[in-house]
Every structure is written in C-alpha cells, then in structure tokens.
C-alpha cells in the first residue's frame, strides 16, 4: 500500500460507471426498442407458400373434363449465371436472342441475387429435352407448377377459365390472394372458386445470411400443409356434350339438356365455342384478345346470357295456364280462319288456315289463332279489369321461372324479360288496355326474353308434369359427394298435374303425328316418343331463329332439352332435329337415323358470314330459291 491507495476507488468507480453505461444501453436496445425484433425476423424468416393442386372437374360418369398438367417455370438467378451458349439455350426453350436479352435484363433489374421467373410455363415436352442439358446453364432453375388441361377441349363456357388475379380480386378477397395467384374468372371455375382452389400451405422457413434455407421456424409449429381443392363431379355427360358441340359447329345458338328428375344439366352447348386449352399457357393472352374480338362472341355464354322471344314454344305455357284458370279445356275449340282478329282492325296471322282446332291440335299445328283467343280470354274475360287479368297471367308465367334467374351455379346469368303491366300502362299512357295491346305475348313474341336455360327448364317442368329442380352443373362436391341443398328442393308451378296430360299429348303429336309442326321423319326417334314444340322466332335483325324444346321419352322422361339455332329459319328444320339427335344419343347412346342425315346437320354452316355474298347477289329477289341455297352451300364447302 502506498500513498495513492485511494485511487483504487476512482478506478473501481470507472469500472462500475462503464458497466452501468453498457447495461443501460443494453436495456434500451433489448427491452425498450422493439424494432430489432422485427429486423431479426426480416433477416431470418421466409414465408414460402405452397400452392395446392386445384380441384379437378369430372363429368357425371367420372370422365375427366379438367385436370392439372405439370408445366415448368424457368427461373434465373442472374449473378450465378456463367457464360454459356445462348443460341443453343434459346433454341432449346424456343425463344429468340432478343427475347433472351429482354428477359435476362428484366430478371437482373428485379434482383441479381434473387431468382425470378425467366420463362413461364414451359411444356413438359420442351422441358424433357431441356432438362438433360440444364447443368450446362448454371444460374437457371426449374420450378414445377401445374396448369389446367382439358383433354376433350369441350364445355369451354361451362367450365370457364382461370387467370391471374387483378387488383380488384385482391381487394375483394381482403388480401387472401396475392399478385400472381390464379383465380377462376368465369364458369364453374369462378362459381366454385372457393372449393376448387383448396387451401394454401405456408412454410415458415429460416434462411441464413446467404439466403440458404436452414430449416423450419419453431420446428414447423406455424407451418401449414396445402390442402388440394375439392373434386367436382359435374352433371354434364361428356359424350353428349361433345356431340352437341359438333352439331352446333358452324351454327350460332345453344343446346341445354336437363335430367328432369334431378335438374342436372346434361349438356350445355354455347356456339360458337372455343377450345378451353386456348386460355391456358403461354399463348393465353394472345388467344384471349382474339377470342374477345371475335364478332361471333365465343366468350358469350349463350345458354344463360342470350335472351330470345321464345316464339311458339310459349304456347305450351299459355295452354297450361289457361286450363288452370278454367278458360280452356282439352275439348275447347276455336276456329282458325288464318288469323286472329282483335280490336277494330288488328289481325294476328296464323301460318295456315287450320279450321276448328282443339287444345291438343293447337299445339300440334301451332295455331296462332287459337292462342289469340285463349290469351284474350285470360286477360279480358277474367272477371276483373284486363290490367289485373294481365297481372294474374304474368304471375302464373313467372312461376315457370320465366323472367327471373334460375340461380344456376354459373356467374353472370341473365334473368330474361317478362314485362310487367306497368310497362304497358306506361307505353299506352293509360291502364285501360287489354289483350289486343300485347296479343303477341300469346304466341311468345313481343316483349319476352327467355334464355335457352329457362326454355329447357320449362321443358323439364312439363316432363315432370308440374315441378322442376333448379338446373345445376355440379351434382356432387368432393370425395363425400355433397349436394347443395337448394338443388334438392322441388319447385312447383302452380298448375295442377292433370292439366299437363293434354299438353303433353299435343307436344307428342307435334313431333310424331302427321300435321305436327315437327313431324318430319328426321325429327322422330324410332322407338322413343319425343314430345316437343317448335318455335320460329321472328327476329328484326335477320332470319328467324329456329327453336325447339321438348323431352323424351313421354313417360318417365330421361331428358328435357331446348335448342336455339339463330338465324336458321323454322324450328322444325334445325332446332328440332338437333334436339332429337341429342335426346336419342343420350337415351340410346347412339343415333339411329341415317348417317348422311346426321352428317348433313353436323357439317351444315349457318354462320352469318355465309349469308353475306348471298344478300348482295339477291338484293332484288328476297324469296330465296333452292338455287341460291345451293350457291350458299357450295360457298360453305369452300370456306370449310
């Protein structure tokens, strides 16, 4: 000990002060400042999303309509790339040199250290040759993905397509989707999106300072597995659908076929259609522009979006309602002298002079006069004011689900048009109007808009003699085959079953008895009683639409069907035969009519473009003769 021994306290004091300073600082960064904790997680945690396989869609017999096919995304980490034979590389994956530089610069701009997509969705075939030589191209990696594949290229509008989410989708989903995710854009893909997409899995990976994976955070406690999307079993019959699409080839229109006992949709043809595979893969955006530009609107889902006046098939509804109202009986007869006169000078022409017809004959011959009388009875002689008579009639029609949505499991269904009494009151500026003011409703013309789906649904209702199940496209969901509740409930039309018999009789005669509007050999199914009603719908824009609806067989109907062929003329000449082929194909699995006959319908081109030269040539004489038709068909052959 010497005289400076007190200095030990100074030195020890300095030690203590320094230790306290260190502790204070530690307390601040460890306990008070929480930002380091977040920074640490940012350093080390990488959320990796595992995409589940999207649910597949089968037809009613388990045949695949949509499946997933592996494709390969080529990734690149620019700073790991070493010089290589770019020409050979480009040749292998099918791009040009400029495209290579464009992609590479884009990747480098994104990040030189992180991998980004160099080329999307390389097909399995391209990948097979490329894979063997992948080692020659350091810095390039391949990532498996899957895309939709449609083995039969059918039912495009029914199935819809998927596409990358847009900002709206992301916002709507409240952040569920992220940029780059896929979502159902139309069709079943959209309406069953939540079932098809499955559940994404999340891996919380830890990475080291060099971004190398180092295992799962908290031993995977917060990781979730991806759950594949549900399998959907659709009601569609693949072979029937295929056949329907072939029949409608080069024609515009729809076929909707329903199993009346369940409401399951057997065929859902919208023509012109497109190959759903076009909306997949690298050519997708090019194709989609082309499809949306097409004047024939292949993206338009005609069975649920096209509204037509139903034409004569509407007589079936009027015949039923009139009976229920007690204003027509099977034996009720009216005299057809070639038209129905109303008001002072009004005349609704009939196609023929039918003479005296009863209810069944009115349907068999499709007599306009008869329905003029029946309709005016319902409106004007209802025991109430005609406006109220109209209201009562309208309500009864509405029960057939005309003028309202059927809530089919597809997006963007149109409801059609069934005018209210206000429409006429407004139009005539008075509510003192009667049947004469909208007499065309009696024969399904005028202010009516009915979708092919609604037509088929009415056919199914008649087939069931008074009720329907809401038509639907998906009959079972997942392995447990869940059926949605709303599809198991009967919807009644308010018409007693007994009134259907005579209507069905009339519909049967229309097809199967001489004088029936559809009574051509081609429309009759040998051994199967097809009941139906034709319609020839006047169309201000061109040739009449050919319409037919019906069901077969007469007892225990297996199929109800509606066919619309736009601008094709008489219901009996196009829609009816197509419907009869479809019905037989479904019931018998083959069509027994002569092959040449079926081929004629399969190959016939009725697209509007085909008419153009004809219109120019025949500007003077519009009553088209058979010669002109020949020129058209020869033009078709050329075009084909």
């Amino acid at each position: 000990m010497n005289s400076f021994f007190q200095r030990r306290f100074v030195i020890q004091g300095i030690f203590i002060v320094v230790a306290l300073v260190l502790l204070l600082r530690l307390f601040y960064i460890q306990v008070i400042d929480k930002s380091y904790f977040l920074s640490a997680n940012n350093n080390v945690l990488r959320k990796v999303i595992i995409y589940p396989a999207r649910g597949i869609i089968l037809d009613r017999e388990g045949k695949i309509l949509v499946q997933n096919e592996p494709v390969y995304d080529l990734l690149v980490t620019p700073n790991e790339v070493k010089p290589f034979d770019t020409l050979e590389f480009c040749r292998l994956i099918g791009i040009d040199k400029a495209g290579f530089h464009k992609r590479f610069d884009k990747a480098r701009n994104y990040s030189p250290y992180r991998s980004s997509v160099f080329e999307k969705q390389i097909s399995a075939r391209t990948f097979a040759t490329f894979q063997e030589r992948l080692f020659e191209f350091p810095g390039f990696y391949v990532q498996n993905r899957s895309v939709r594949r449609y083995p039969d290229s059918i039912a495009a509008q029914f199935l819809g397509y998927i596409g990358e989410v847009n900002d709206k989708d992301i916002e709507k989903s409240k952040g569920f989707y992220r940029p780059g995710d896929y979502i159902g854009k139309t069709g079943v893909e959209k309406s069953y999106e939540e079932l098809l997409r499955g559940q994404r899995g999340v891996l919380n990976l830890m990475v080291d300072a060099f971004n190398r994976p180092k295992g799962h955070y908290a031993d995977g406690k917060y990781d979730t597995l991806a759950v594949a999307g549900d399998k959907l079993i659709s009601s569609l019959d693949r072979d029937l659908q295929k056949f329907g699409e072939k029949l409608m080839n080069n024609k515009i229109g729809s076929i909707v076929a329903i199993e009346p006992a369940t409401g399951e949709i057997l065929a859902f043809v919208s023509s012109p259609t497109y190959d759903p595979n076009m909306m997949v893969g690298r050519q997708r955006s090019k194709n989609s522009v082309q499809l949306y530009k097409d004047p024939l609107k292949p993206m338009f889902i005609r069975p649920i979006q096209a509204e037509y006046p139903p034409g004569s098939i509407f007589k079936v509804i009027n015949a039923l309602i009139a009976q229920q109202f007690g204003q027509a009986k099977p034996e009720t007869r009216y005299f057809c002298g070639g038209g129905y006169r109303f008001g002072r000078r009004g005349l609704m022409r009939c196609t023929h002079v039918h003479g005296s017809v009863d209810l069944a004959q009115s349907l068999q011959y499709s007599c306009n006069t008869y329905y003029g009388y029946v309709y005016s009875n319902m409106i004007d002689r209802s025991g109430m004011r005609p406006v109220n008579g109209y209201k009562r009639w309208r309500e009864a029609v509405a029960k057939f689900n005309v003028g309202s949505r059927l809530d089919i499991d597809l997006p963007n269904e149109r409801k059609g048009l069934l005018p209210t009494d206000e429409l006429y009151t407004k139009r005539w500026k008075s509510d003192k109007w009667g049947s004469g003011f909208n007499i065309s409703l009696s024969i399904g013309q005028g202010e009516l808009g009915i979708t092919p789906l609604q037509m088929a649904n009415v056919a199914a209702t008649v087939a069931n003699r008074g009720f329907f199940y809401k038509p639907h496209l998906i009959k079972a969901i997942g392995e447990k085959k869940v059926i949605k509740k709303e599809y198991t409930q009967k919807n009644h039309t308010g018409i007693d079953a007994k009134y259907y018999d005579i209507v069905v009789e009339g519909m049967s005669r229309a097809v199967n008895q001489p004088g029936g509007t559809a009574n051509f050999a081609v429309n009759m199914i040998p051994g199967i009683e097809l009941c139906g009603k034709t319609g020839t719908v006047q169309n201000p824009h061109g040739k009449d639409h050919s319409v037919f609806f019906g069901f077969a067989p007469r007892n225990n109907p297996k199929i109800a069907i509606a066919v619309v062929v736009e601008n094709a003329g008489f219901g009996s000449s196009w829609a009816a035969p197509i419907a009869s082929f479809m019905a037989e194909k479904y019931i018998r699995d083959t069509v027994t009519r002569p092959r040449a006959v079926v081929d004629y319908f399969l190959t016939k081109n009725l697209l509007p473009g085909q008419d153009k030269p004809k219109i120019k040539i025949s500007a003077k004489a519009d009553s088209a003769g058979s010669k002109k038709k020949d020129t058209v068909s020869s033009a078709n052959t050329k075009a084909n």
Binding site: F5, R7, I16, L22, L26, Q30, A209, K214
Partner: protein
Amino acid sequence: MNNQRSLFFNVDWITILLYLLLCIIGWFNIHAAVYDPANPSILDMDTNYGKQFFFILSALVLGIVILLMDSKFFSAVSPVFYGVTLLLLILVLIVGRNVGGNQAWIPIGSFRLQPSEFAKFSTCLLLAKYLSSINMKLNDLQTLVVCAIILLIPMGLIMLQPDTGSALTFTSLVFVLYREGLSGYFLVIGALMIILFILSLLINQALLIGLVLLVAGLILYFSRRTKALITTLAIGVLVSIAFIFSVDFAYNSVLQSHQRNRIDVILGKIDDPRGQGYNLNQSKIAIGSGGLWGKGYLQGTQTKYDFVPEQSTDFIFCTVGEEWGFIGSLVVIGLYLTLLIRIVNIAERQRSPFSRIYGYGVASIIFFHFFINIGMTIGLVPVIGIPLPFLSYGGSSLWSFTILLFILLKLDSNRMGII
C-alpha cells in the same frame, strides 16, 4: 506437502470461480453461435465448440502449472518474457500468416499462435517490475519515458501487423500508472482529448474552436485569475486548437479507410446498414431481438445463421444477448464487474508493489477488452476487433488471459511472503 496445501488454501477461489463461470458461459455460447445440427455434440473436435473445450482444459492445466511455479520466477524473468514476446512480434511480421488483413498469427501445427496476446501479460510484468523498483517517482520525466517505451514498443510492433485493436489495449495501462501516482491530469487530459476528437469529427472546426475559447473564458470568469491559471488555460487552448487541426489530418491520413468508416458509423455519419454498417447493424439486431429473457439456448437465429460476422470470436456477446436476453447480459456484465473489482481488491491487498502493479495491469487489460468488446457490439464504440476475455473462441486469447490472471493468483497466494 505442507507448502502445497497452503498454496491452494491461499488461492483466491472466488476469482477462480468467476473465471470458470465465464469460460463455461463462453463455451456454451460458442456452441450456440456456430451450432450445426449435423454435429450436435458440444465435444465434437471438428467444430469451434469442441476445440474450445480443449482450449479450456488446456488453459486450466496452464493455470495449475502457474500456481505450482515459484512466484519469484515471474518477477525475475519478466525482462526475458518481454524480450521473447518482442522477438515473436517481429517474427510474426516475417513468417506470420495473414488472416483477415492482419499478419498476427504464427502457425504451429494445426494451431496458430498470436504473439500480441502474450505481449499483454509480458508487458504488464515488465511494467510492474520496473515501477516496483525502489524509490520510483512516476512523475519524473525519465520514469515516464521508460514507461512509455515499455508500452510503445509492443504497441508499435502490433500496429505494424496491423492490429490496431490489440495495440490500443496497451493504452489501458494508464490506469496502472495513475494508481502508482501519475497525475490525475493525465486522465482528465486523456478524456478531454477523446471528447475533442469526437467533437471535431462531428462539428465544424471554427465552431469547435469558438467553443473551446468560450469554455476557457467561462473558467477564467468564474475562478480566481491567478497567473498559473491563465498560463495553463492559454497553453490548454493553444494545444486544443492544434489538436483540433491535427485530428483532421490524423483522421484522413493516419487512419485507414475502414477505421474511418467504423468511426463514422458509430457517430451516425454513415447510415448504411447493408454496407459499412452491416456488422454493427446485425450485431445490434441480434442483441436487440433477445428481449428481456432471450430466445433460449440454441434458439438464436441471427448468430447461428451467420447474420452476425465473427459470431464466435469478437461478436460472441451477440449470442449472449440474443439467446439469454437482457437478463443474461446483466449476469455476464455482473460477473465481469465482480471480477474486475475483485482483482483490484486483490491488487490492493498485496504487500509487494510488484504484485499490486501487476494486479492493476490485469484489471486494466481485462477492463479494456470488456468495455471495448461489448461496447462495439451495441454501438457505443467503433468496431475494434478484440476478443471478450474468457468468452471469445480462440486458444491464444484464452491462454493469454488465463496466464495473465493466474500469475496474479499465484502472486496473491504468496502475498504473505516477500518477493
């Protein structure tokens, strides 16, 4: 035999306990820092933690050997130690292996020897030997010069490697000189120089000179204006101004760019957490993310996954902070503080000035490493690459600190005898 018993009876067991605790804490934290699930065993010789176990065992053997030696030996051979160390420091400049920019290692078999580590205790011993000579007056110019030479030769040689961190360690021995009678003004002047240095980097020169003049004026105004005071102040102001100008020069010409950068990062003049400030930023993230209780043993992610550089050597404290939180940091700092105070107490109870002076040397060197190392990991001082005593991975460092401490324990166990 009797002598042997009294030897271990007199050893300061508290210090040994503290030493062992720090070594074991270090070993576990090295295990956590470089933990590799492929080699989970803490005794795997292929890994740093396996090697550290071996280092600890051999350090203990070394400690026991020192305790068994004659305490007069250390005083007697201190000039030899010093001379050998200087030779090694010169040798390393010639045959040394360059690791990370420093030519500090002499390879011997599979291990590497770091002479600068051994320079610490040999310099302490020689300084103690010199200052304990009879009738030494520290404030004599000649004494000061000799002391300075003893310190500056190893410092200069280490600077040549260049290992600035280790060289700066020797400045801590100013505490020893202070205890032995160096004027307190040296400490004050030293502190003022550090303050001026920092200020001149942070603020404009003219402003700083104005500030110095203002302070001098205030002192003049509030004190009795004696001739001595005026003279002192005048010299002080002149030297300060000269110092301020020379800082600028030294900063730009003497310091290397990475050293300038490290200082700038600390002073907040560089905000570049991905570049220049990466080490410090990651170190703070690791420690800061530990929270109050820490993430738990082997649960740290920042250190284990290489976000923190040098995580088992210079930045070992990051593992402590991350896995054991503030509580763990408190324990470790508490252990160091206890050890330092204990060492000073031991020094003060020595009869012989040699033992006392050496004891202060030990305390100063451990203190400097402790403060600089932990301070750098949390951004209080610039990044200076020196190990944390007993905790950091590395044989040379552990052995040299063990030798440093155990020589004191040996001297202490013999304190009743006369050296």
